[in-house]
């Protein structure tokens, strides 16, 4: 059966965890002992059955009625298996939201139909767009609070579309629901005769798995080199394309050429091919010393090598970024000392307002259009060509403080 991971995003208290709990409950995915536990916990906290407890497992989450950290749960429909990623809606937990969203193939944006679009509704939509998640369903929750009003729903939909269009998000469905009461989640609601669209559950089944990178040019970032018996094996994951015994390859940035002698997979002797997604080993001739961080490709279609490039980054540390401070750049298995040489635009990730041009700082939750320079040349590609080599993180003092996407042309090769 297929498996698809989607993330639930939106403003705090708009009902992300509740919708997940409801979905699991309606589809019979909650074991009776789990349901008992939730009832018990709800009683301990002095509340009616709280569907959000299915996801909010930390004591503090339950007492404060908020989600602090991202969590994942699983459920199955006739069509396939789902991994649901719950993301916190507070601005202060944005890094947890990004952690969750980075593992998803699609997103559900939830908006409180009564409260309307709020700060994190927009911020989360912007992050989703930056991460390249282009499959989005919008749900207008808490329709029960506005008497299932068509007019209010249409008004909200119109406002949402204006904002989403700006960030190039085109939702496949906008669905009026009540997670708490169960309307249009897995069962069609009798209270909104004006709505003849799909239920949330039907809409989920329309998501598609991300296309595999098998048809793209071959890319193999070296993860490590092992000595096994007499063999020197380069291990790593094929990030894109396919590879065959005897293929001529070149390692970058070192420009070392070689030919593939064997493809090594334990308990699978005589392997002749491998493809994107597989963790494998390679032996090569000549048997040169190749280090972690080198990227193998075919000589006819090599990725660019550069020490200066443009990127969009999102900052997720309470300590701001200072231009030119010492940082570490990590992309696939590559690592290089780096600095942000120029912040062309400092952007508010919720309003998309350009706060400053040619800035010298980037604050927590802000997005920056920047130029990065690395101490030594690295292999990077546009995210839209090879996503695995087009996304990176920035590390400072041992902590991941930013994520980024290389969307623009690389400067100087």
């Amino acid at each position: 059966m297929d498996k698809l991971a989607f993330v639930m995003v939106g403003h705090v208290d708009h009902g992300k965890s509740t919708l997940i709990g409801r979905l699991l409950y309606d589809t019979g995915s909650l074991p009776p002992d789990k349901l008992e536990e939730i009832k018990l916990a709800s009683r301990e906290q002095g509340k009616d059955v709280e569907f959000a407890y299915v996801m909010d497992h930390l004591e503090e989450e339950r007492s404060r009625n908020i989600t602090i950290d991202t969590a994942q749960t699983f459920f199955r429909t006739k069509r396939r298996e789902y991994v649901i990623i719950d993301a916190p809606g507070h601005k202060e937990f944005l890094k947890n939201m990004i952690t969750g969203a980075s593992q998803a193939e699609a997103a559900v944006l939830i908006v409180d139909a009564d409260e309307g679009i709020q700060e994190q509704t927009q911020r989360h939509a912007v992050i989703i767009s930056l991460l390249g998640l282009d499959q989005v369903i919008v749900v207008a929750n808490k329709m029960d609070l506005i008497n299932f009003s068509e007019e209010r729903f249409m008004d909200l939909t119109a406002k949402l579309e204006v904002f989403l269009k700006k960030i190039d998000i085109h939702p496949t469905f906008v669905i009026p629901i009540s997670a708490k009461k169960g309307d249009n989640v897995s069962n069609k609601s009798g209270k909104m005769p004006w709505y003849d669209g799909v239920t949330f559950l039907q809409a989920l089944d329309s998501f598609k798995n991300l296309p595999s990178s098998v048809e793209k040019p071959f890319r193999f970032p070296v993860q490590d080199a092992y000595e096994v018996g007499e063999k020197k094996i380069l291990v790593g994951r094929v990030e894109a394309g396919k590879v065959r015994l005897g293929d001529e390859i070149v390692f970058l940035p070192s420009q070392q050429g070689a030919r593939i002698k064997t493809i090594e997979v334990f308990l699978d002797d005589g392997r002749r091919t491998a493809e994107a997604g597989e963790s494998i080993g390679l032996t090569i001739e000549p048997d040169e010393d190749i280090k972690r961080g080198e990227v193998a490709s075919r000589p006819a279609d090599t990725p660019p090598v550069s020490n200066r490039f443009k990127a969009s980054i999102f900052w997720m540390s309470p300590q701001p970024l200072d231009i030119n401070e010492k940082l570490l750049f990590r992309c696939a298995t590559e690592e290089a000392p780096a600095k942000i040489e120029k912040i062309e635009e400092r952007i508010d990730s919720s309003t998309l307002e350009v706060l400053e041009e040619d800035a010298s700082k980037l604050e927590d939750t802000e997005v920056g259009e920047v130029i990065i320079s690395t101490e030594n040349p690295v292999v990077v590609e546009s995210f839209y060509k090879t996503r695995e080599l087009g996304r990176f993180v920035i590390v400072r003092n041992n902590d991941v403080v930013a994520g980024g996407i290389i969307a623009h042309a690389i400067i100087g090769q």
């Binding site: 004591e59 749960t73 980075s102 597989e278 902590d399």
Partner: protein, 267 residues
């Protein structure tokens, strides 16, 4: 690539990443189905021979079948096996019948692990926990730092994106690495079948009962089941309505026991 191969490939990538970043590393082997699957994946990652030890946290209360299984496969797979026991607490008579179960788990598992880390100076440990086992585990990261007192700072976990993991531990820290985090119970069993991974017989039904999750014998209850083969276990899991850890005592005392255990450093 099929789903199981994808799961496998990601886990192997994480195991190799952990070994690259931390040479002072061990894999925790509880002899259960998950950590035995993890052992299998480690063997695959390193082409048959683990370059680091496997550690068994032995409370002395495990099922006899588990000890037999451990010794057989430690030998067969050529493992460097470390056995960690809190001898002091055992000598003082600590056991599941001595009052609160929480205290017993803490002394015989968590403290035994602390002693082992002090003794062998591990900077990282591979563990076979999965997100679908328990809500609190659903909040875990693949690479999760723990301080000296083992505290899990679950309110302030590091961001983790695109297979970029926390790569260094501070002096007083170690990193828990969870290569199986994204697997479900059903995935584990389908993979065990595909790979023909040996597994202790406790998981298969005898006299109408089987263990779905194993640990210490006094604290594990079998569930009613007629599944006496892997195929039947897989069929059973597709339709079951009880959760995996329903037979585990430490999950029962209070809805927040597991959180308390994990915050104190429980696996």
């Amino acid at each position: 690539m099929d789903k199981l191969s994808e799961l496998e490939s990601k886990s192997i990538y994480i195991i190799r990443e952990a070994y690259y970043q931390f040479k002072d590393i061990a894999v925790l082997w509880s002899i259960g189905k998950d950590s035995t699957t993890l052992m299998w994946l480690c063997r695959k990652a390193f082409f048959g021979t683990l370059p680091f030890p496997a550690m068994h946290i032995d409370t002395s209360y495990k099922f006899p079948q588990m000890y037999r299984f451990r010794d057989k496969y430690a030998k067969k797979w050529g493992l460097k096996l470390l056995i960690a026991r809190n001898e002091e607490a055992l000598a003082a008579g600590m056991g599941p019948d001595q009052g609160e179960k929480l205290a017993c788990c803490n002394a015989l598992k968590t403290d035994a692990l602390k002693q082992a880390i002090d003794r062998w100076h591990f900077k990282a440990l591979l563990l076979g926990i999965r997100r679908d086992e328990h809500g609190i585990r659903a909040k875990e990261r693949y690479f999760s730092p723990r301080d000296q007192s083992f505290k899990w700072d679950y309110e302030n976990q590091p961001p983790e994106l695109w297979d970029q993991y926390k790569s260094r531990a501070e002096d007083e820290e170690h990193i828990r690495v969870h290569p199986l985090l994204h697997w479900t119970e059903l995935d584990i069993w389908t993979y065990i079948k595909r790979e023909n991974i040996p597994i202790t017989e406790l998981y298969f039904a005898q006299d109408g009962k089987r263990y779905r999750s194993i640990g210490c014998a006094p604290c594990c209850a079998p569930v009613p089941s007629t599944a006496d083969t892997i195929d039947k276990v897989i069929e059973e899991l597709k339709t079951t309505t009880t959760s995996e850890r329903a037979g585990r005592a430490q999950d029962k005392e209070s809805v927040t026991t597991m959180q308390k255990l994990r915050a104190l450093g429980y696996m």
